[in-house]
């Protein structure tokens, strides 16, 4: 086994001496991925008690999901909210990141901190506060209120991702465009924005997922016709282990993986945390 005795690092530690680290890391990586992925085969089980491997394969839980008007309505609500959140949070976040980047306003730092607070503040507080205010304003259980709250949660991600892209962008390029007579907005749209487009796309995808996966705020302020998928899933989980959830989870895992693949294609998929804890 020559590989085992070959040096693995600058300090001449051999692969053999590091075997424990390789095994440990392998186990950890398996434990990170396996629990989520195991839900996929389980969702095709015919049994009421999700089995692995399933004794009888069936798509009955998928039929139950796709055949249920309530689950379908909730899925549609979630997709709509996520899409609208993306449309609100992305431009606002990009504008803010650009404004903070180019202006040397004395309060810029404080404004940046304020804008990333929603990421750090306990979500329950965002949820309860929104519940109180929306109830007073008669906006409870509306799509608009849901989208506004989710946009606040998604905003920090867009600001951070776009802001860090702007830091590595050479602002002299925009200067050059402006010195050649382009107005600021035109220089931004035709020179700067194309350069940071991957960060903007990543930010947009993160906004979509933030809203789509969000549970706590949705639990308080969505309901009736505008109940989200995650809200209904959470309520179903509290009562009993409904196997339909396994099929919905599988659909969500597939959707997330697709978005992640899109983000990988468009560059770094590493972003901030999800708005939801």
């Amino acid at each position: 086994m020559s590989w085992l005795s070959a040096p693995a690092s600058e300090t001449q530690v051999t692969h053999g001496q590091r075997l424990w680290l390789y095994i440990l890391s392998g186990v950890i990586m398996l434990l990170l991925v396996a629990p989520t992925l195991i839900v996929i085969p389980m969702s095709f089980s015919d049994s009421q008690y999700l089995e692995f491997p399933p004794e009888i394969w069936s798509t009955r839980w998928y039929q139950h999901y796709f055949g249920s008007p309530e689950w379908m309505a909730a899925t549609f609500t979630s997709l709509k909210a996520a899409f609208l959140t993306m449309l609100v949070a992305t431009p606002l976040g990009v504008l803010a990141a650009y404004g903070l980047h180019v202006s040397r306003f004395p309060f810029a730092r404080a404004v940046f901190v304020l804008m990333i607070t929603p990421m750090m503040a306990p979500v329950i507080l965002v949820a309860v506060g929104a519940f109180y205010v929306y109830a007073k304003a008669g906006l409870l259980y509306t799509m608009a209120s849901l989208v506004m709250s989710h946009s606040v949660l998604a905003l920090p991600l867009v600001v951070i991702v776009t802001g860090s892209a702007l830091k590595s962008f050479d602002m002299n390029l925009e200067m050059a465009a402006r010195s050649l007579g382009a107005p600021r907005w035109k220089a931004f749209l035709t020179v700067t924005l194309p350069q940071i487009r991957f960060a903007v796309i990543t930010g947009a995808l993160l906004s979509f997922l933030t809203s789509f996966d969000e549970v706590v705020v949705a639990m308080f302020i969505s309901g009736g016709d505008n109940a989200t998928l995650t809200r209904n899933m959470f309520n179903a989980l509290r009562d009993q282990i409904d196997p339909t959830i396994a099929s919905i989870s599988t659909v969500m895992i597939v959707l997330t993986s697709l978005l992640m693949a899109v983000a990988q294609v468009f560059g770094a998929a590493r972003g901030g945390p999800k708005g939801d804890r």
Binding site: A8, E10, L24, G99, P122, R238, I241, M252, M260, R277
Partner: protein, 290 residues
């Protein structure tokens, strides 16, 4: 000349203001949806049952045993989760940082996939795996590790397993980043000067990776403090965290004063930790780590 310079300066100031105005839509959103409602809750926490100013909500929190237990549980769960994440995440980050870039990117998918997957889905997965008739109990019994189904979920064990799984990427990513930034020549120099690899690791590599570890641990701890979904589902009512009590206070008892007071304490705690940490670590590192 002087008038001209004055005019230019005014124009520059105006331009700065206009650029700063680009932030205003986002700022307005945060103010209306976050700052004003939370400010309102702050106010409500000082209103007593009779509708006048009082400190009774806070007094009750100090006097009542059940409230102090909730805070103890919250901090206990957060500390344990953070500790376990460090113990599991640091070796993994080290392993990833030592791999050739191509392999590291491939292995990174195992960290990023759960990071992007819905928190609810992951919590549900653990619920299914850990339950009485779940996979883990089946395997444990058939392998002869234990005789009867063990309670792995609806208690502290299940909560911790779920939370560590969900929080791990938040620790691994910043630690990995700081490890990648360490100049490999330092380790060569240490070896060249005769340090044993173990000594070189602990005296050169580990201290250099410490800022990333601190930032990651901090993020994990702060996020744990406000956790709701995972303990609610996997704790089975036995692990009550502050945010869960806030929800019950509103949904079951409709007691806004008590809920707001708890929320204010939770927020102050979170902000105090972040503020203290930003003095040592710098805000950019924390924001970047997240």
């Amino acid at each position: 000349m002087a008038a001209n310079a004055e005019g230019l300066r005014r124009d520059a100031r105006l331009e700065q203001l206009r650029l700063f105005g680009l932030c205003s839509p986002a700022l307005l959103l945060v103010l209306v949806i976050l700052v004003i409602p939370v400010g309102w809750l702050f106010w409500l926490s000082f209103v007593g049952a009779d509708g006048t100013f009082s400190l009774e909500n806070y007094e009750r929190m100090i006097a009542s045993k059940s409230y102090s237990r909730i805070f103890v549980t919250t901090i206990e769960v957060s500390l344990l989760t953070t500790g376990l994440c460090i113990m599991i995440g640091y070796p993994l980050a080290y392993f990833l940082s030592q791999l050739p870039p191509r392999v590291a990117n491939l292995c990174m998918i195992t960290v990023l996939l759960p990071f992007w997957t819905s928190l609810l889905v992951r919590t549900y997965a653990w619920l299914v795996l850990l339950q009485r008739q779940g996979l883990l109990n089946d395997w444990g019994i058939s392998l002869g590790l234990w005789e009867e189904p063990v309670a792995l979920v609806h208690n502290m064990t299940g909560t911790l397993i779920g939370m560590v799984h969900i929080m791990l990427p938040f620790l691994v990513l910043p630690v990995y980043g700081s490890m990648k930034a360490i100049d490999r020549d330092y380790m060569k120099a240490a070896a060249n000067l005769g340090a044993h690899p173990v000594r070189a690791f602990w005296t050169v590599f580990a201290p250099l990776s410490l800022p990333g570890l601190m930032a990651g641990a901090l993020i994990v701890f702060v996020l744990c403090l406000g956790f709701f979904v995972t303990p609610a589902v996997l704790g089975g009512g036995k692990v009550i965290m502050v945010s869960m009590r806030i929800a019950t206070n509103i949904e079951m008892f409709v007691n806004w004063g008590a809920a707001s007071a708890l929320g204010v304490v939770l927020l102050v705690l979170t902000l105090a930790i972040l503020w203290a940490a930003s003095r040592f670590l710098g805000l950019d590192r924390i924001a970047g780590a997240a």
